[in-house]
């Protein structure tokens, strides 16, 4: 039902038509879709993932079908492209499970949405804007877990609900989401799978699935990793290569003569792709596709240029170099005599070759992260502590500007300007010394430090939530002492406490063995305030 008749009659192709044309022409064309979509892993062996992880997921599925109330929810986390969804799809196909997927739809008039809902009584989603996304989502979760897909109902064994995108409503309001999950556990029978990609600054998992909730609802969390990071490079390479090989075989079967041209270098080439992609299967396949197109014209030696470096950080590092090496014009003429009064003569500098604002603009990053990189890498470029002190003061200024939060980021440019100029002004290079040697630039450690300490702090607070002491006292006094008091055990909590509280690993052999588990202080405090417990109970209820 259209309110306005379409003026684009000539280009109006319905979805069905498009689909049909695709299937008929697939044999003729080679790369209509990216390979990623064209060749999803079909069987379990095709998925580029460690066998153990695969086993874990399968085990969960079996358990979830056996037990009624526990372990109904699975949470898969991992960096993008670590085969999270591929695993679920492959397992579903393998075990003949009908998979119901949620797709965030932004326009209410979406064909895909209707397709997914073809078994629901049609409630006028198309025109009715009163249904919020949250309502639709909960509707989807509850209904699709109860009813099977009608088209496949006869030959599928069971149902599995898969959610890869979580409606934004819940991201803003995690409590609502938690309520939904609890309700789901009570009334629904079918296993539920969440897939959340972990990127660097993404704390979606933390906010939507906090540890407490995971414990409470018995959520199984399986996190996938990029194997490159874990010294399992070999393993992963084999997996990835298998994945790529399979795809390449599929394509070359159809028609392309790509690999005739590459010939013997094929294996090296594969290895190269696998390494460059940093373990991201998807980017690998995309790379493969790009290469396939271009390779016909070029020789294998220049392939390296095409296997795109996924690192966009190269641009950033270039900008960093510009700032830190801080090239200035060779002073040609000294007509600057009158510019600065004598007492400020030591602040005089030759003019810069690069405009700092332009450098920042080209670096393609936010001021805060650029400052982090500067901070991480600036040390070796200073020789005098006074200069360094001045420079880092400017970084501090930038940080203070940055702390004023405003949605338009109007201070962003000032932040970068102050800190970059402050840094460049104070990097003095002797003209007499030889040009500086190459120094490797590194990523800031601070990000990792902040991440780890936040995680630890959260966990610590959670574990010690019944203690009536503040955070500062907890971290700087209670935990360090307790970690000295408890004995070495394999207990998860004790291990964690030791990890946080002790800076150097404690000597393993202790002469006197621990007698009692309750610590002195605890027993003392308990003796003094017996009704402490009641407090806590009330606290929880609130």
């Amino acid at each position: 039902m259209a309110w306005v008749s379409s003026t684009f009659n000539d280009v109006n192709i319905s979805v069905k038509d498009r689909k049909r044309s695709k299937t008929t022409q697939a044999s003729k064309r080679v790369c209509i879709n990216p390979w990623v979509d064209e060749f999803p892993p079909l069987t379990l062996d095709d998925v580029a993932i460690h066998k153990k992880k695969l086993q874990e997921v399968q085990n969960w599925l079996i358990e979830s079908n056996l037990r009624s109330k526990e372990k109904r929810i699975l949470l898969l986390t991992g960096p993008p492209g670590s085969s999270k969804s591929a695993v679920i799809h492959a397992i579903a196909r393998d075990q003949n499970i009908s998979l119901r997927e949620w797709v965030n739809n932004y326009s209410s008039n979406n064909d895909y949405f209707k397709e997914n809902y073809n078994d629901l009584p049609f409630r006028g989603y198309e025109t009715d804007f009163t249904y919020s996304q949250a309502e639709r989502f909960s509707d989807f979760v509850f209904r699709s877990s109860k009813y099977k897909d009608l088209s496949k109902a006869l030959n599928t064994s069971s149902n599995l609900v898969l959610i890869e995108e979580i409606p934004n409503v819940y991201v803003l309001n995690p409590l609502e989401f938690h309520r939904l999950l609890r309700k789901y556990l009570i009334c629904c029978t079918c296993p539920l799978v969440f897939i959340i990609s972990e990127t660097k600054n993404n704390n979606l998992v933390k906010s939507l699935f906090p540890i407490e909730l995971q414990e409470e609802l018995h959520i199984t969390n399986i996190s996938f990793q990029i194997y490159i990071i874990l010294t399992l490079i070999q393993y992963q390479l084999v997996f990835l290569q298998n994945a790529i090989n399979r795809i390449l075989n599929l394509t070359s079967n159809s028609n392309s003569p790509i690999f005739d041209s590459v010939g013997t270098t094929k294996k090296q080439f594969l290895q190269m792709i696998a390494e460059k992609s940093g373990g991201d299967v998807r980017s690998e396949e995309a790379d493969g596709a790009t290469k396939a197109k271009k390779d016909l014209k070029r020789k294998a030696k220049s392939v390296e240029d095409f296997i795109g470096c996924k690192d966009s950080s190269l641009i950033l590092f270039r900008a960093l170099g510009k700032v830190l090496y801080c090239k200035r014009e060779k002073c040609v003429e000294k007509n600057t005599n009158n510019l600065l009064p004598p007492h400020l003569k030591n602040q005089e500098r030759d003019s810069l070759l690069e405009n700092p604002e332009d450098v920042f603009e080209r670096s393609d990053s936010t001021a805060a992260s650029f400052n982090l990189f500067l901070h991480q890498n600036c040390c070796p470029f200073f020789t005098d502590i006074n200069d360094f002190s001045a420079a880092i003061n400017y970084l501090g200024d930038g940080d203070i500007f940055n702390a004023y939060w405003d949605p338009t980021h109007s201070l962003e440019n000032y932040v970068s300007s102050v800190s970059i100029r402050g840094m460049m002004h104070n990097i003095k290079r002797d003209k007499t010394t030889t040009p500086q040697t190459f120094r490797s630039l590194t990523r800031p450690d601070l990000l990792n430090v902040v991440k780890v300490s936040n995680e630890r702090l959260q966990k610590m607070k959670h574990l010690n939530k019944y203690l009536p002491i503040g955070t500062e006292e907890l971290t700087s006094m209670y935990i360090p002492f307790i970690s000295k008091i408890i004995s070495n055990s394999n207990n998860e909590v004790d291990k964690f406490t030791k990890e946080v509280g002790l800076i150097y690993p404690a000597p393993l052999n202790r002469i006197s063995s621990q007698t009692s588990n309750t610590s002195l202080t605890e027993s003392f405090f308990e003796a003094l305030n017996e009704d402490e417990e009641e407090f806590h109970i009330e606290e929880i209820e609130d």
């Binding site: 940055n402 509280g501 006197s512 305030n529 009704d531």
Partner: protein
């Protein structure tokens, strides 16, 4: 203290781990709700309003057997944001009929005067060393340990009149060596030892390179969840030991300046490092001057 219940809100203040919380526990009953709203960061305002409102709006079930009001205990009030404190003042006034508050704070200086004037202030001093020693001895008696007096004195002295710390370090001493010896060393937390090492590294060499190494050490402390304020305090305490009179004053001023900036900013490490760098440059100048004086 109980008589004050009927009329007023109470504000307990005192140095960290004086017995203020304990005293409240001892008189506490099941009509209490105890909350630490400062844990909620900048949501603290909402937490306070919500809690007091819900607590106050519900009437007591059995007024004859209970008091006709409820009591809410708020801890770490001085850590609340100004926003939350103003909200607290308003809600406090609004629900005075059904709800009494006990506020616990380490110091009244960070509490807005509007709240101060509405509360009965009770100052709970930190226990004296003598008190701590006697408590240590009672505890060890209950646990069946024999605690030599010199060790108890030593522990009490090292604890900064912090009772919890004294008890914790007593137990840590026990795990380290029992039976006790009078000259036994009092166990200090690892991070304090580490911080001392950091301070020595700062004093030893003043160059951007050594600062880079110090930065790693600061990271190590941060990763063990030591709050940057504590790092500041500890560093200053250690560094000042190496300075003479006038320099002490200058260094303390620098520390205050940079800590203030840290509160304004968001990334603590810049400001900690700025302080260290400033100290290094001042200290280096001082050393050079004193060297030239000698010759």
């Amino acid at each position: 203290m109980i008589f004050t219940y009927s009329e007023l809100n109470i504000l307990c203040c005192g140095d960290t781990p004086s017995k203020k919380k304990l005293e409240i526990f001892t008189i506490a009953s099941n009509y209490h709700i105890m909350v630490n709203p400062s844990d909620a960061n900048f949501y603290d305002r909402c937490v306070i309003q919500e809690i007091i409102k819900t607590a106050a709006s519900a009437q007591q079930l059995d007024p004859s057997g209970q008091r006709e009001f409820k009591v809410v205990v708020l801890t770490e009030v001085d850590k609340l944001t100004k926003d939350a404190q103003h909200a607290l003042r308003r809600t406090m006034e609004k629900h005075i009929g059904t709800c009494r508050l006990i506020l616990i704070a380490n110091s009244t200086s960070k509490i807005i005067p509007a709240i101060l004037s509405r509360c009965l202030g009770v100052r709970v001093p930190a226990p004296t060393e003598k008190e701590i020693i006697s408590i240590l001895q009672t505890v060890s008696k209950k646990e069946g340990l024999s605690l030599p007096l010199p060790l108890a004195e030593n522990i009490a002295k090292k604890s900064n009149r912090n009772l919890r710390r004294a008890l914790l370090s007593l137990e840590a001493c026990k795990t380290q060596q029992y039976p006790f010896s009078p000259t036994q060393e009092v166990v200090a937390p690892d991070w304090e030892v580490f911080l001392r090492k950091t301070a020595t590294a700062i004093v030893q060499e003043q160059s951007p390179n050594s600062l880079f190494k110090v930065r790693e050490m600061i990271y190590e402390l941060l990763i063990h969840c030591i709050p940057p304020e504590v790092i500041f305090k500890g560093l200053l305490k250690e560094l000042v030991k190496n300075c003479d009179g006038s320099l002490k004053c200058e260094v303390t001023k620098m520390a205050a300046y940079h800590e203030h900036r840290m509160q304004l900013g968001s990334k603590a490490i810049y400001h900690v490092e700025a302080f260290i760098a400033a100290f290094m440059s001042v200290y280096k100048r001082f050393m050079e001057e004193s060297m030239s004086d000698i010759f």
